[in-house]
Symmetry: C3
Subunit: 103 residues, 3 copies
């Protein structure tokens, strides 16, 4: 089946920042994204868990979006602007999709 190359961006951030991130994705022209809950993890600021917080972190989420390579680069700059003073991990990878008109 014919597929089309796109970029998948995975953003792990504190839940309270997720609204700001989604608004930024909207403004940048991203057509869709999904929010995955996390139940725990570890980062440079230490470990955290959604049951019985360890350390100062509140919950975190992963936001996933798939976008055109042409848009991805500008998007990374904007995402970085939001996360650079916060906890958070941003990664980008190659994927293929079957409905290119959706992105």
């Amino acid at each position: 089946m014919k597929t089309y190359p796109k970029k998948r961006i995975e953003i792990i951030i504190e839940a309270p920042l997720s609204r700001r991130m989604m608004e930024q994705l909207d403004r940048a022209g991203v057509t869709g994204y999904s929010i995955i809950p996390l139940i725990g993890g570890k980062g440079l600021s230490g470990s955290w868990s959604s049951e019985g917080q360890i350390g100062r972190a509140s919950g975190m989420v992963a936001i996933i979006c798939i976008t055109d390579a042409a848009l991805a680069d500008a998007l990374l700059e904007q995402i970085f602007h939001i996360v650079h003073r916060q906890m958070g991990v941003v990664s980008i990878s190659d994927v293929a999709v079957i409905r290119p008109e959706h992105f």
Copy 2:
């Protein structure tokens, strides 16, 4: 450590469709998959959230499976048949695994 190339398929669909999708994956010979809950997101049909639905969507899930490249192509056709008139995002990417006999 020796690894083996496989395909990772990520299917984001409305939760009520997930049973039909799993049955299709079973019939196609997929040996395993995982279902991840989503707590919100945005697609061509608008934004949605698992708390206080926005718009008409009910909850959505991500189904992830890892499969042989040989099986992946036929699988994409079958998955597309289920999602093509629905909300949903299907993406495929390259991964490597350490236990090839599991797929």
Copy 3:
């Protein structure tokens, strides 16, 4: 925006094993990881669901970490040591990140 190549490791295991896995990731020098809840799935041991267990499995989780390629290979050996007699799927893929000093 400048990005740096890394490896993304996705480990799907039974929830009770997750603590042992996280301790192993810590010892190996992984700087961060995230834990995603799963609500159901299927593996070589059969199907399972977080509501009304099917079969003998308790809940499962996905642990995601991003690491240097140099570390990834040794890590796979250690992860394999934990999962090889258990249910579980380990896959590794290429990603790019924007903050290399975080990994």
